[in-house]
Symmetry: D2
Subunit: 356 residues, 4 copies
């Protein structure tokens, strides 16, 4: 890695995930935050004036006085572009950046299920990055788009991938208890969630039943062959700030008991080239042995919010195993995941400083 | 029913469920609250002095100045005894009341799984009340013990029973999001649950995997034959005051689509003799059609807290149907359920005013 | 009161206070809810379709299928109009209804401080209703506007008025802990208030330092002479659904100890003609003696949410007395207060069924 | 400071404040945590086995396997002893440690108001440390006891001291909104505080009306002359994990406007010898200019939880100024404050490694 840092932009920088990008990029060893974009009504204002900062971590000084630019490659070009845009906006604007030569690392759902766009989780599917060759060829883009998974799919996919490589996975049953920050800002009204649970999140169950299959699939030629198991999902919103918790029951191809599964998850490692990336968590998966963990409050910041925490591995009367999976939804499941993706692309020489 | 009311006592009257008994009995048409018991350190004090009343409903005036008595049949005899005792205490003391002739309606888990003790939910299994004949014969008790189910099993059992009679049930997968009042008082420390979820409740999954089988079973001779399906359960505590919500996936014997299941649940009725009881909810099951209901805050008081509310009935990729079930844990799932049980026993002539 | 009920409309019926009006009017003995208005995008839809109902009480059946009308006297005329409009909208539209002959009972702040508009709290200042004579004369309106106070001023004004008539008041120091429902719906984002306090509510301190002076003032000729004391206020938002709590220190003209103040507050009564109104609380003020009351959770529904609850009356090192005041902000402090105002006007013959 | 670290013990290490001591001492440059004490039933167990760790920060590895010792100088002697004991226990046991030669830095209230025991806040009253000379002489102790202030008094005293030295203070009116962690663990039951405020904390108002006077007083000979102003306090518990917020109105000797007060608070500095201590916050006081700050969620960790954050400085109709003060109650207001006190004592040569 050169001493000179790569300039990066954040699209949609004032929302919940946008803020997380700004916070995590504060002192990144490879990337230098140089541009922020926002909606028209904010354009021209300084970031600290127009952004209702909601993170307990302080707004980084370097970002405070950056001006809000328009979300267009003309106004805001950088070799690396992190997108925290809403999905409908992303669908329209991200291709323009990719066409103009930017390496776009997107948190939006817009392109995730396109066959030539990877949902990249480097710890488990770094070969999927090869999809961008097809993508550039087909779309005649100088740059490319790489997505990270939906925040609820993230931890689940990492655990399922680790189980799959050891035992094979046949079926998974998932019930999520999802944090407020996953709904953005202003997001969930306090009157809706105080002393309450909302057993519905729009389109979330559909994503959770499909994304992990693509994520844990294998490259076959120049396409991803989805993993052959199936998922049933229920999604709930709970009054937790950060950290999506998922109750998971799983049926394996080769039965394993709780101890064997725990061993496999503890032993799981990212490939060497991924472990070398600055944001790669160590461990990727932390297995806790207490009867009542993981808990969002106590475990979400494990590995600076990049580690997936698993606990309560135990037999299931129908399938083979029950367990609980926790992942920080705006760090590993959003901004931190995109940054890790960009690190992998940079390490593999896919990013040039004058445009990808 | 005679004009003169039946005197009733509440054992363990100062806790979370004990208070609910006192509140619900305030103006009961058949029962008159005449005695309250509590731990030794409270004995002799007036109820309002020693009880940290935590319900938003006001402490009933008639109960305010009742003295706390010792929990023994010598100190506190009434023809009907409602028990809100902790399970270990219940195991020791409830039999003494039954032996002395009281009809004991217990909220404790101590005797639930004994073969001659019914877990009674009159809307769905009122024939189980016949178990008390065997019970009295075997144990040589003048009185008897009838239990209600664990608060999480209650709503689930009612819904499973309605599905079973129409379609047959093969498997159920349950993930609970349980309210704070289910843990009693003082119960869950605020530092443990604020901005958090606890994915564990001691012994709860075991109960939820076994009780509904007995509850929805059939009388065979003088015993209950458990229902032939199986349950897998995950239990979680969430920051909700009242109302246990359960995400349920269910496999049926005869497949049904969401519309057919909704119809069956809407059509479900308690038997006529149960519908005539003062606390029997109408409807027993309320099916809501919105995409985001039931919610504890909005739906737990349906039918004065005695109705089970079901929503989001939809296909499940593995089993047949997904749905969400809500039941008020200290009303239908505890004190209100016990009172309904006592009403059934009274209506069937099983309670004499001079001792059962 | 005639057997035939008076038709009433609710302006701005879909918001937090609008819903409270609809709920409280469900079975009102004098008023019949016949019309609901809302913003343009909702016009023509049925109430239950367009309104995100957020109250734990069920949406009244009669209101469910009322259509949303435009907020204009042409579209929606009724002899009595309850306004839950935002202040800026109220300033423009309420006069049109008053001009057209409606008796407007407004929850908005727009006209409160106009000299010819009463801020009416019948229990303490029913003579202020006389202001409407001047108002009609000056403005040449067939109808009139009567406002109720800001939700935080309500309980405080009732208590200050009771103290003033007995001892005289010189100064009051107020710090509010205000509920979420006071900010409307969607109102406060959950990410802003979970595990947090916001020590600021826009314009609230200004209102709390001025409104109580007008409310507790005396009619002098055809104007209200504000009370001669002064108020200092700090306002905070806390994570409570309903019920504004105010810590109050007060300096009196004639010193009184805690016991004397408690006596005066307990003895306080509304005038006979007000006590006869259906929504008048009994008692107007409830004094609790426990060391840790009032609390929003336990005391806000006292008197169906219309009673002001006071506790912890004790000496203050600087002024004379400290105490804590609790009032339900969307019932006594908003919709319930407006309804009580309309009852007073109706009882005094100020409302004709064909327009005021 | 020598390269070799000073061994320190934490008394009452398993509670809320005890855990904070353990966490903050993890990598302290001068102190080495070598001993932990707890109640009899925990004695002999390893810390991680017996302690229900409730902090989001991870339990430090070095502390995990320390055994719980008895709280007596025979079992647990170290030159520096941090006490997180409950007040009644502290009154009995802390003197034994002081007598045996330990420098006791206590978070308990037991000895705070004794004339020869300092309530030390080095940033504002480091000369008070001289009280320990009298203390040792009078009590014939080899060691000594230094207390830190009640967690609510801390931030308030720092701000009042800064105002006093610039303008003089005549009167302060304080209303606190206090965090859950201030009540220890298990502390406040969730059923008591969810959707609620408790307007009472036992003995807290008494402390808040007296401690700041001693803290901000001046050394006169060998005693502290309390500051000549007076305080009126209301104390409330709110559903916030950490961070006590206080609404303060203050009357000055020499009137100042909001701008002048802000300037004085911004300019406030600890004395040079205190600024050199590892835990001294920089700045001591942070003044925020936004209309809605400080907020516990966003500002409590300022200066690693050691900075006092002030905002909303504005005129008060009765006194001179209103403002809002926030201080982290278990860091600056408890464990962090005690550690800063120990650093001052160490820097002044008052601690010998073989016992004070």
């Amino acid at each position: 890695m050169a001493v000179e840092k790569i300039p990066v932009a954040v699209l949609g920088a004032t929302g919940s995930v946008g803020q997380r990008f700004v916070q995590l990029l504060e002192s990144h060893p490879w990337f230098e935050l140089t541009a922020l974009t926002g909606s028209e009504r904010r354009a021209g204002k300084m970031y600290r004036e127009t952004c209702e900062w909601i993170l307990p971590e302080r707004l980084p000084e370097k970002a405070e006085s950056l001006p809000i630019l328009a979300t267009s490659p003309e106004a805001t070009l950088a070799p690396v572009v992190f997108s925290a845009l809403p999905s409908a906006v992303a669908r329209e604007l991200e291709p323009k950046f990719a066409e103009a030569g930017a390496a776009v690392f997107s948190n939006a759902g817009a392109f995730r299920m396109e066959p030539d766009v990877p949902i990249l989780l480097p710890e488990i599917n770094h070969p999927h990055l090869r999809l961008i060759e097809t993508q550039r060829r087909r779309r005649r883009w100088k740059g490319f788009i790489v997505t990270n998974s939906n925040c609820t799919s993230t931890g689940v996919s990492i655990v399922l991938s680790a189980l799959q490589s050891e035992f094979g996975v046949k079926k998974a049953f998932l019930v999520s208890l999802q944090a407020l920050s996953g709904a953005g800002y202003p997001g969930v009204p306090s009157l809706d969630i105080q002393d309450n649970v909302i057993p519905f999140i729009s389109n979330e169950e559909e994503k959770l039943e499909s994304e992990p299959l693509k994520i844990t699939g294998e490259m076959q030629g120049d396409a991803v062959e989805p993993a052959p198991f199936t998922i049933s999902a229920h999604c709930n919103r709970v009054a937790v700030r950060d950290g999506h918790l998922v109750c998971m029951s799983v049926e394996l191809m080769r039965p394993a008991d709780a101890g064997q599964a725990a061993e496999a998850l503890k032993a799981f490692q990212a490939p060497a080239e991924v472990r070398a990336l600055p944001s790669c968590p160590d461990p990727v998966i932390l297995v806790r042995d207490e009867s009542n963990r993981p808990q969002p409050q106590l475990d979400r910041m494990e590995g600076n919010g990049m580690t997936t925490v698993v606990g309560r591995i135990r037999p299931d009367p129908h399938l083979h195993l029950k367990m609980v999976v926790l992942s920080h939804n705006t760090i590993r499941g959003a901004a931190g995941g995109s940054i890790l993706n960009a690190e992998l692309a940079a390490a593999q020489g896919l990013i040039s400083k004058t445009g990808a």
